[in-house]
Symmetry: C2
Subunit: 160 residues, 2 copies
């Protein structure tokens, strides 16, 4: 599917409770092998019925996602292609780091089209921007991902 809007990439352990809601269809696709735990909304609700701690936890998750969504709005609306891509790389790196520890090589299992949809860019602009970042010595494009050569510069672009 071309030119959709991707609102996020999930990593192992992530909770996707809020992605689909009635007819407001947001769906979830897999870009690599997945194992999922799935609950029906009703039975989950029954399960959580008398567990205020769990409910509060879910609440916090929703609020966190909401804040992220709002951060992402700023990104979509106010940042250049280069800043978008840099921000994407840095936050992707940080999320991976939280899972596997620090690393210089960033695997990017999603397609350029997915990145484009996530950043509200075209696939061509994403590609060009990757190339530009490589020319500038910020990254090196390798098969299935990138090597982050100049994290400081990337962070500067992301923070901008």
């Amino acid at each position: 599917m071309a030119a959709g809007q991707i609102v996020g990439f999930a990593l192992p352990g992530d909770f996707l409770g809020m992605t689909t809601s009635g007819r407001n269809s947001f769906s979830a696709d897999a870009i690599s092998a997945v194992e999922v735990c799935r609950f029906s909304k009703a039975s989950f609700q029954r399960f959580a019925e008398d567990k205020p701690n769990l409910l509060r936890r879910i609440n916090e998750l929703a609020i966190r996602e909401l804040c992220q969504a709002r951060e992402h709005m700023v990104l979509l609306g106010r940042r250049s292609a280069e800043e978008k891509v840099a921000t994407f790389l840095i936050s992707w790196r940080d999320r991976l780091a939280r899972q596997n520890g620090e690393c210089v090589i960033l695997p990017l299992p999603m397609s350029r089209q997915d990145i484009a949809d996530y950043l509200a860019l075209t696939i061509e602009t994403v590609s060009r921007t990757f190339t530009k970042l490589e020319r500038d010595g910020v990254i090196e494009i390798i098969s299935g991902g990138v090597r982050l050569l100049d994290a400081a510069r990337a962070e500067a672009l992301a923070a901008a």
Copy 2:
């Protein structure tokens, strides 16, 4: 403050529980006279402690906001200035209608700058787009708002 990001406009009765969260500062400003009920997060949490119905209700609110935020992402990333403004006008009209019933005259108490920040446009583009919509007979610009002359066309632009 110029060129910020406005994530929403609140109407009477709206719940702003999720707008500020720790250091992720999103703030709320008033553009007309307001009456607010304010709870500290802690005491509200204590109050809601043993009321799963309330917690679930809050949850639904958060999820609704999250979906709206995602819809808004699509708007910010994928729509032209004209579509953005039309979408803003239509959804603003619908929200007003839910409060006061149908109306042709839409009061716009927020400034052009606010609209621009909400739609991730510049004030000039917002102004030009209003003018264009007026030239095309979709709206008439009046003091403090607009008159919606051709709702169908506006809706078409908004749905696009």
